[in-house]
């Protein structure tokens, strides 16, 4: 199962992605500005694979077509305890920001979820302080849904939908 865009291939995570993922989790980009210990990061990385196994879908790793490097995880996410199915986006390296990679990947996985997976609705849970992610959601055509429940404090629910994408 994979999704292709102009510059990226979004595919299932592979064990070889661990080094790049670990570097991201060691950086302040990880988890609310907090670096995460390798053991905890490994647990989360392993859980990517478990989510695929248990749900039949999960987050993709985006790989650049030109260099082959894995640059982030994107996509359908629905862990136990979350109110709704979610589309997430995470770019692992700050140096890759501002080049449209996250938008390109996120747009493709929204289409994948609403198309191939047949979801009738998808949300993204975004922290109120995360202006970049909010801007990305707006670029995708998502709108805030103030009535929908969020799984975490301090986050807004952004709802994607057919026909909303720019």
């Amino acid at each position: 199962m994979k999704v292709e865009t102009g510059r990226l291939i979004l595919r299932q995570p592979r064990p070889e992605d661990w080094d790049a993922y670990r570097a991201y989790r060691r950086s302040p980009r990880s988890s609310l500005g907090r670096a995460v210990a390798d053991g905890e990061a490994w647990t989360h990385f392993a859980a990517f694979f478990g989510h695929w196994q248990l749900r039949g879908f999960g987050r993709f790793v985006a790989q650049r077509r030109d260099t082959g490097a894995p640059i982030g995880h994107f996509g359908p996410f629905f862990p136990e305890g979350h109110p709704e199915r979610e589309i997430t986006w995470t770019l692992w390296d700050a140096a890759l920001e501002g080049q449209g990679y996250a938008t390109e990947a996120a747009r493709a996985v929204v289409d994948f979820a609403l198309g191939t997976l047949g979801w009738t609705s998808a949300v993204s849970y975004i922290e109120r302080t995360n202006a970049r992610s909010q801007a990305l959601a707006a670029r995708l055509g998502a709108v805030r849904d103030p009535l929908a429940p969020a799984p975490y404090d301090g986050t807004d629910v952004w709802r994607h939908g057919r026909g909303r994408r720019a």
């Binding site: 390798d38 053991g39 990061a41 196994q53 749900r55 879908f57 862990p79």
Partner: protein, 177 residues
């Protein structure tokens, strides 16, 4: 578009089947994780965290090529617990882990049956030459099982989270400690 765990063996013992974890096993796992019986393995955990732990159990198969099995009643396939080789990032060395999920399944020797089969799998199929089990000093039931399996206590290991567990070393593949 099915995503499957490939190559997870099935081991049958007198009363149990050790097999790959499945989505349908989660409820029994989550009930255990939410209970005080999970105190010695980092619990009790709320359901979302239990779900991530269950995803970790499954992903460990992909990343290491082995992981804990779910052991199920051989007749009904009802999940009774997990047991098997376990080596996440940060562990001092690979261990054999075990947990019984429903309290009603305790006291029947099922954990020993599963753990012994898992240890034999680690020695015979994975080629391990030694194996430990990490057991909290307050976890008297698991310690008793380790003793029955012939394990000897060694030093304390401190996890990166700050909690500690005693290293219990199993007899080697030839039966010597």
């Amino acid at each position: 578009m099915t995503v499957r765990l490939e190559g997870v063996p099935v081991i049958e013992t007198e009363r149990l089947r050790l097999r790959a974890p499945r989505a349908g096993d989660f409820a029994a796992c989550a009930d255990f994780m939410a209970s005080d019986r999970a105190l010695h393995i980092g619990g009790p955990l709320e359901r979302p965290l239990a779900w991530r732990a269950f995803c970790h159990l499954t992903g460990h198969w992909v990343l290491r090529g082995y992981s804990m099995f779910v052991f199920a009643d051989r007749a009904t396939d009802a999940p009774l617990g997990m047991a098997g080789p376990w080596y996440p990032e940060g562990w001092p060395e690979p261990e054999i882990g075990w947990s019984i999920w429903p309290a009603a399944a305790e006291g029947k020797g099922l954990a020993r049956e599963a753990a012994s089969a898992a240890l034999e799998f680690a020695y015979r199929s994975l080629g391990w030459t030694t194996a430990i089990s990490l057991i909290a000093d307050a976890n008297s039931r698991s310690q008793a099982l380790a003793r029955r399996m012939g394990c000897l206590p060694e030093g304390l290991f401190t996890f990166p989270t700050g909690s500690t567990a005693r290293i219990w070393r199993h007899p080697g593949p030839g039966g010597q400690a």
